[in-house]
């Protein structure tokens, strides 16, 4: 049952991300990216990681919504985008990387047999999914968690600094033009 569900999701996700890469239409690319991200949450639900699945939905639907906003600004969604990529070295490098990645993916099961994994949630079996994640995050992985929090804080402050020019004015005032007094001065 779960294997069938996994293969259906895996095929759909791979197909959608292929569309993301190969499509020349910005709307198809972004829509398939969003749909793929939504379907990845299905994989989490299959392995009963409900919390991570829902978080995947929340985080990526917001993130791709921001991507759409940029896409709307830079491209005409109803036309195809003409890709200009003449650098041979870039193509060479990217195809090389893809080949290496493929080899790693297919050899991973053979290597993985020899790795012993200590289950993270050892002794947390009595807790449900959400509580177990909380317990692990705030005990064993506290420092990586805090470091991630600090990184997000840095990114947030950088974003505020970048956007904070003329922040005290209303947006409509910024874009409508200058205020009447400076306009008079300019006319003089």
């Amino acid at each position: 049952m779960e294997a069938i569900a996994f293969y259906i999701f895996a095929i759909l996700i791979t197909g959608l991300f292929l569309v993301t890469v190969f499509s020349r239409n910005i709307l198809y690319s972004m829509s398939s990216l969003a749909a793929g991200m939504v379907l990845i949450s299905g994989l989490f639900f299959i392995i009963r990681a409900d919390f991570l699945g829902a978080v995947q939905l929340v985080v990526y639907s917001g993130a791709i919504m921001a991507l759409y906003a940029f896409g709307m600004m830079f491209f005409d969604a109803t036309r195809d985008v003409k890709e200009k990529n003449t650098s041979k070295y870039l193509v060479f490098l990217l195809s090389g990387f893809s080949a290496v990645a493929l080899v790693v993916i297919f050899s991973a099961p053979a290597i993985g047999k020899h790795i012993e994994v200590e289950p993270i949630a050892k002794g947390l079996g009595h807790l449900d999914n959400v509580h177990a994640i909380g317990a692990v995050l705030f005990t064993k992985y506290l420092i990586p968690f805090e470091v991630a929090a600090v990184m997000l804080l840095v990114a947030m402050i950088a974003g505020i600094v970048l956007a904070s020019k003329r922040m005290d004015e209303s947006l409509s005032e910024v874009y409508v033009g200058t205020d009447p007094e400076t306009e008079k001065k300019e006319q003089k």
């Binding site: 198809y28 939905l57 639907s61 919504m65 709307m72 109803t78």
Partner: protein, 329 residues
């Protein structure tokens, strides 16, 4: 196992049928209540007091020509309304609609899927639902559509933070993400309702719920006076109807969420049994949305962003901080 699957399918079909019928009926109630508040009569011609207006509208919507305008991206244009309608109903899957009851000797739990992360799933699904308007606006070759979808993105990025943060304080108190746990937490009667301990969170959640269902103070997406019909400008017939059903289903979902999380859910209330109590609460929230629509003007997109990021979000964070301090003490 088979019985479980059959029961789930029956529940899903029932919810789909009942909620979409209610969504249709909701349009009639909305027109009547708005007419009452504006001293008009509203629909009066079809049937007694215009009750059959829904049937007339339904026939019109179903028989209209299915039309895809030239220059539109056909696939995305066709998929967009389905996203809105489908996600609205998927969100309802994790909502316990009524208390448990016994029918022909079988105990029925009126929830399609009792996940232990119910509330997060509902919020996530309603968030995904906004991809419908976004894609609809971008798929058509129409300036109003593009403006509508740009506003969708703005609105989503603004209210989503407030929804999450306002619900976080009640979640901290209950210690669970399951909506059924929320309900049992408030089982002790009116004095135990979370709204008394979390009034700020309740108001914040209602405001962001209005933004989430794009009801009137925040209906920037399809504000006729400014952007014709926004994302729905080139839609007609059943595709437009699907957007509408999705919006009304979302209104009902927000009503259920607000009453389950803050107003005691489906616990029996004084002499009113639990099932009727929650229906009354949801009906009240539905009425509140129409009331606000009649009473308040639209706001501009920049005012919405100002409200969400500069007023509501700090309030929500302070609320969480105070809740945490009180709980630790």
């Amino acid at each position: 196992m088979d019985g479980y699957i059959i029961a789930t399918v029956i529940k899903a079909i029932l919810i789909l049928a009942v909620i979409s019928a209610l969504a249709g009926f909701g349009t009639y109630i909305e027109r009547k209540i708005l007419a009452f508040m504006q001293r008009r009569l509203g629909p009066m011609h079809v049937g007694p007091f215009g009750v059959l207006q829904i049937a007339a509208d339904g026939i019109k919507l179903f028989t209209k020509e299915d039309f895809i305008p030239s220059g539109a991206n056909k696939i995305i244009f066709m998929v967009a309304p389905i996203i809105t309608a489908a996600t609205a109903f998927i969100a309802l899957a994790a909502v316990p609609l009524l208390p448990e009851f016994t029918l022909f000797g079988v105990t029925v739990r009126p929830i399609v899927s009792d996940m232990n992360i119910g509330i997060l799933f509902v919020i996530a699904m309603m968030g995904v639902g906004l991809y419908g308007p976004l894609l609809a606006g971008m798929a058509q070759e129409n300036k109003w559509g593009i403006i509508g979808s740009a506003r969708t993105a703005i609105q989503f990025l603004s209210y989503e933070v407030v929804t999450g943060l306002s619900l976080l304080a009640p979640i901290m108190m209950v210690g669970s993400l399951s909506l059924i746990d929320f309900n049992t937490y408030q089982a002790g009667g009116i004095a135990h309702w979370i709204v008394w301990t979390q009034p700020v969170a309740f108001v914040l959640f209602l405001i962001s719920g209005f933004a989430e269902t794009n009801r009137t103070p925040f209906d920037l997406l399809e504000n006729e006076a400014e952007v014709i019909s926004g994302y729905a400008t080139e839609y007609s017939g059943m595709r437009w109807g699907m957007f509408f059903i999705g919006e009304y289903a979302n209104m009902i979902t927000i009503g259920f969420l607000a009453s389950l999380v803050f107003l005691g859910g489906f616990n029996p209330l004084w002499i009113i049994p639990g099932g009727l109590a929650i229906i009354l609460k949801v009906a009240f929230f539905f009425f509140l949305m129409l009331w606000v629509r009649a009473a308040w003007p639209h706001i501009r997109p920049d005012q919405l962003m100002w409200l969400c990021w500069k007023v509501l979000m700090p309030l929500a964070v302070i609320n969480i901080l105070i809740t945490g301090l009180v709980m630790m003490a």
